[in-house]
Amino acid sequence: MRSFTSLFAALLIATIFVLSGGNASAHVVTCDFTTGGGWILIPSGTASGSLGLPESGEKANFGIVGGCKNGGFYGHANYVDHNNGLHVNGPVTGYLDPCIGGCGLRPGYRDLCGPAKTNQGFDVFFRIRTKDNGEPGGDDRFGIKLVRQSNTADVVYLVPTRELGPPGTTGGGGNIQFHFPNPSNTGPNPPPDEFTACHMDDSGLGE
């Protein structure tokens, strides 16, 4: 059971988007919440980026919260890649629906964006793509893209979106949880465009 208020807010957001001429390739600020934690496995050759960090099938762990709150964006992202020791952490300052396969609650992709510290000697902007595909979480999806803050054209790290999967040699684990909006769930007015929110496009992130 969900509150009628939440449903109404979600429908209102969707309606505003449709009335504003939205299309399937749009990226729109949508106010709800995404939370989650887990890990993905990154086999060699399945990640890229100018840093050229080695990947060998080890896991990368993540913990995320994203959404809107009281006229702004809200949340955090933490990420550790055990293939190469990369650490990333920062606040969520952008939250978008990438509108893959449509916009809105379904199919329910969400992108969390923001500035982050790394242990590589420079700061980045991150864009994390998530999708909640139900419980217990093995079908949920996660991807991450990092660009250098001093040169946002420099994609330093990119792991295309993939299934968390059941724990094992071919998959990771964890759970990504989509949450309906609550009464605090208002974003910036006017909402930022994709580049302002994320400082990058979503090329390579996949679905």
Binding site: M1, R2, S3, T5, S6, F33, T35, G36, G37, G38, W39, K59, N61, F62, G63, I64, V65, G67, K69, Y74, G75, H76, N78, Y79, V80, H82, H87, N89, P136, G137, P167, G173, G174, N175, Q177, H179, F180, N182, P183, S184, N185
Partner: protein
Amino acid sequence: MDHITSHNWIAFALAGALVGLLAWPGTSEAQTVTGQATAARATALGTTTSVADTGTLNDSSDARDASQLTVSAPSLFTGEVLSASTIGYPDEVDSEASLGNLAMTVGGNGISADFVMAQAQAILNAAATGTSNISGLSINGMPVVLTGDPNQTISLLTGQVVINEQQTDPSGTITVNALHVTVNGVADVVIASAKAGITSVSTSSSTGSSPLPLPSL
């Protein structure tokens, strides 16, 4: 004259109805929400330390989060990507806490896990529910087969580990501790704790008087 009289009667009847409504005992429902999530909490030597703790929800329109990239409590536990959130709704509370790469040594017991998550959800007028999501759990070098049941307990020499610990208080608030390690006289450690509760309180009120001026007839 008849027309004026009739009009007065209508106004009088409306005024009476208004007084009746104001004096009618009114009822309203207020929700009390409880929500909190903590990635790790340890009590040792009488001191409790929490890491990535959201604090408590203020009300049903609040949302709170907390996080930490890594944690290292020397000679107790280490972990990474700690994340916690709690979200309130007028009719629901969702709380969640997680961390990865747990390595713990408590009272000589080694406990590790790839991933630990607790989730709690309370929906108005329904029983609160909770789940734990734990992968790669090992205690003293032995892999643990998870039953999935609440409160799976594994004894230690001087303590215990409760997996997917679930406690519901009389108000219906549920607390889910994905891992709760107790070593007698040494430490009490909870890894991934999520709490959620919501109750509806009906309040009745009767004004008993009319603060509004009656319309003149």
